[in-house]
């Protein structure tokens, strides 16, 4: 009976708030007017990485699986998108689709091998497979090695809307971004998402309830790869090139950093984390201050001061304060 009174507040905080909905609408509105003041290409880059981190968080934060090979999906899709635009000369939406398709296939192949392992072994297997893919990209003729794929136009969306104008492109990005984040939110808050959460919290118990947990993990892996691919394809479309940087293990590390900085296991966390890292990189690039040092220092501060990540810590403080 003591428990009954003590934990009422916890249940309350897990219920969705009307305030949250209002906040989301405000943010979407802000996204619509932001290019009036901020350079749209920076905002689009931000959206790419925010989506990439959100895809990664779908696997880490909700699936409990730490992948160290997500660059393969991001960069692999960037290559596929760029190749489709340059060589096949298809419309941009089909090129992105090709990129996402490539990421899904890659995700399925890597996932089948990786989900058999747990914890650090899972991370190592994904890293090894992603490195194999990196060297494949380094050697394969269609990626043009160190040069990468470049020198193609963005084309016309559905054959109609010219994307060479960055304001137009911005609004296309904004729509895709909001839709993708909503899709990720839906996956997390779906019947499948519930099972994923159950597996994360108690895998043995989930097995004993008849769930073949490896299949559910594989599903999360492939979905995450798909969204990472979408982010990579958008990035290739935005900058009109695809290079080895995107498949390099640094990229896998960067997305982990973004997600952990922002806080895993929330929709807002990876978006905030990606925003912070990309803004910092962008700002420091012009100052001559070593970017990696600054990022490393930020990361150390984060780990020491707020382990739950920025959003995670914020939520925690809020929950504690609500509790009388």
């Amino acid at each position: 009976m003591i428990e009954a009174e003590e934990f009422e507040t916890v249940a309350e905080t897990t219920r969705p708030h009307r305030l949250q909905r209002v906040l989301v609408l405000v943010l979407i509105a802000a996204l619509m007017v932001l290019p009036l003041w901020v350079y749209p290409v920076l905002l689009m880059k931000l959206m790419c990485f925010a989506l990439f981190a959100s895809a990664f968080n779908l696997l880490l934060g909700y699936g409990g699986l730490l992948s160290f090979g997500h660059a393969a999906f991001f960069g692999g899709s960037a290559y596929a998108t760029a190749h489709a635009l340059k060589v096949w000369e298809v419309t941009p939406e089909l090129a992105i689709l090709a990129g996402v398709g490539a990421a899904l296939v890659l995700g399925l192949a890597m996932g089948l091998l990786a989900v058999r392992r747990q914890g650090i072994y899972f991370a190592m297997v994904t890293l090894a497979l992603a490195q194999m893919f990196y060297f494949f990209c380094l050697q394969a003729p269609f990626t043009h090695g160190e040069d990468g794929i470049q020198g193609f136009s963005r084309g016309r969306l559905f054959g109609l809307i010219d994307l060479s104008d960055s304001t137009v492109l911005y609004y296309v990005f904004a729509v895709v971004f909001v839709a993708s984040i909503f899709a990720i939110w839906r996956i997390v808050h779906s019947p499948y998402g519930m099972i994923l959460q159950a597996i994360r919290e108690n895998e043995q118990r989930a097995i004993s309830l008849g769930y073949s947990v490896q299949r559910y993990k594989l599903g999360a892996f492939v979905l995450s790869a798909g969204f990472a691919g979408l982010a990579g394809g958008l990035k290739a479309l935005l900058f009109q090139f695809a290079t080895l940087t995107d498949v390099n293990w640094h990229m896998s590390g960067e997305v982990i950093l973004m997600t952990l900085l922002g806080g895993i296991g929330s929709i807002a966390g990876p978006i905030v984390g990606a925003g912070l890292v990309v803004t910092l990189q962008n700002y420091l690039a012009t100052t001559g201050f070593p970017v990696t040092t600054a990022l490393g220092a930020t990361f150390i501060v984060c780990v020491l001061l707020f382990r739950r990540g920025i959003v995670g810590e914020f939520r925690h403080r809020l929950a504690v304060r609500r509790k009388p």
Binding site: A11, S190, Q197, N202, L209, G210
Partner: protein
């Protein structure tokens, strides 16, 4: 003489055994944890697996649920040989288990804990595109199951915040959600207060009317009260099998186990 009586009693009943094992053995390296165990778990009855610490009860339990792979022997579920099946597959057939360390989904509410168990049998486990509200049709059944274990008024609390005894009750509700034919309970009463023990024992007895129950249990009083068949293990082997009167009359059992346990 007694052993002969026991095997004569078991033999004709084998036909209606919900879960049975023959020659079940498990070795870890050089250590033989379980040796040549024959066991029949019958429909509508509670089978208690008892024995001193280290007798291999938990190993037998994990072998029967396939969380461990036996080194030798066969396990039959009705007419189906399940010796080589994966644990999740067995669960889907109707063999549900609980855990010694109470296993709940801590961050979820009680009703969600039960819903997770209901999702798969109701075909609502893979839809990643549907909203959570699609699960609301499972809620009445989940509430009913929570009511059965006396937790209905706490349905929206976090499972992690429950007292130990209530967590165990929640686990029973979750297991019942699978509508199991065989229920295997690993020390379902461990760590409970006297009041909870009595309530849980009544619940298990009630549940057993509709399925076969195997429970590993230390509480001899409860075993005597609700257990129909008892298997006593010692050093990985069956010491004796029978009902409580038969088993407790066996001097070897008194020596090995009950004599000391009764003094507690």
């Amino acid at each position: 003489m007694m052993m002969a009586k026991v095997s004569a009693r078991i033999a004709p009943e084998r036909a209606r055994a919900a879960l049975s094992a023959r020659g079940l053995s498990k070795t870890f390296g050089n250590f033989q944890a379980v040796k040549d165990v024959d066991i029949d778990i019958l429909h509508g009855r509670i089978h208690a697996l008892i024995g001193p610490n280290g007798a291999g009860k938990s190993t037998v339990f994990n072998l029967l649920t396939k969380f461990l792979q036996p080194s030798a022997g066969t396990i039959m579920y009705g007419e189906t040989d399940i010796t080589r099946m994966a644990p999740a597959d067995i669960a889907r057939l109707g063999v549900a288990r609980s855990f010694q360390i109470s296993a709940t989904f801590g961050d979820m509410s009680l009703v969600d804990n039960v819903c997770v168990a209901l999702q798969r049998p109701n075909g609502l486990a893979v839809q990643f595109w549907r909203p959570l509200s699609s699960l609301s049709r499972l809620r009445p059944r989940a509430m009913e199951l929570l009511g059965r274990v006396g937790l209905a008024d706490m349905a929206d609390h976090r499972a992690a915040d429950l007292s130990y005894g209530r967590k165990r009750a929640l686990e029973i509700a979750t297991t019942l959600a699978l509508d199991p034919k065989v229920m295997l309970l690993d020390e379902p009463l461990a760590g409970m207060g006297q009041e909870d023990v009595e309530r849980m024992a009544r619940l298990i007895a009630d549940v057993a009317q509709g399925c076969a129950v195997l429970m590993v249990e230390h509480n001899i009083k409860v075993v005597a009260d609700i257990g129909h068949d008892i298997t006593v293990l010692q050093r990985g082997e069956i010491l004796t099998q029978g009902n409580y009167a038969e088993v407790s009359a066996d001097p070897r059992v008194r020596e090995a186990y009950m004599g000391t346990e009764d003094d507690d």
